[in-house]
């Protein structure tokens, strides 16, 4: 299962901070985004960044694995 985490305003719009998504062979980051965006369009309207396993990931074609931890994030506002 892929673990998907949400924080801040995105978590608020999704209504939860963590989801488990079934992994499918050949699944890419873009596939996961499209799957979740269809379910949570208001939340994904805020998403502009993604991270895989704790690292920024700009390449949406990157392959995921069954143990990937993915975060879809809005722009940051720390500091």
């Amino acid at each position: 299962m892929i673990t998907v985490l949400f924080f801040g305003p995105v978590a608020e719009r999704v209504g939860q901070s963590r989801l488990e998504v079934a992994f499918k062979t050949g699944m890419r980051l873009q596939d996961l985004r499209e799957q979740l965006q269809a379910l949570y369009p208001e939340a994904f309207a805020l998403v502009s960044l993604a991270a895989v396993n704790g690292e920024h990931e700009r390449e949406m074609s990157v392959a995921l694995t069954d143990t990937s931890e993915v975060v879809f994030m809005s722009k940051f506002s720390g500091g």
Partner: protein
């Protein structure tokens, strides 16, 4: 004695709920080298007014697994890029009240220019790359902060 003193020096990059002491951070920075001729600092505080509304408190959410490593990377990059002797970054999480400290950055170099430039660079990069979000509590309710320059 020496070991206990060494242990009392806090990590150069931290995320914590408690407030921090600017004096302690600057002392720790100065302790790394007597070649340090310039120290620059940035202190970010919680404002009591934002977007035309009074703000009573600010709460933070963070992706912990990524936030601290990203801050550590920024420190290392700043040291290399600006030739610093050392740098320290502390960011608070949890709930802070208006007027309270949020973030502190201290940079030390042989001369003032690289220290000042690095301090500005670190806070700008932190706002762009470190996964922390803040939510303001106002009389009209709570709202997540939209980033701005």
């Amino acid at each position: 004695m020496k070991n206990s003193m060494e242990k009392s020096i806090k990590e150069a990059v931290r995320i914590q709920r408690d407030d921090f002491s600017q004096d302690e951070e600057i002392r720790a920075l100065q302790a790394c080298s007597k070649r340090m001729g310039g120290i620059a600092t940035f202190l970010g505080c919680a404002r009591d007014f934002s977007e035309g509304r009074e703000v009573s408190e600010i709460s933070f959410d963070a992706y912990d697994r990524m936030a601290l490593p990203e801050m550590q990377k920024l420190r290392e990059q700043a040291i290399t890029r600006f030739g610093l002797l050392d740098a320290r970054i502390v960011h608070r999480l949890g709930v802070v009240n208006a007027g309270d400290n949020i973030v502190f950055i201290a940079t030390g170099a042989e001369h003032r220019a690289p220290a000042l430039e690095a301090c500005r660079w670190i806070i700008d990069e932190l706002k762009e790359w470190v996964p922390i979000w803040k939510k303001e509590t106002t009389p009209q309710g709570e709202s997540w902060v939209t980033p701005h320059p």
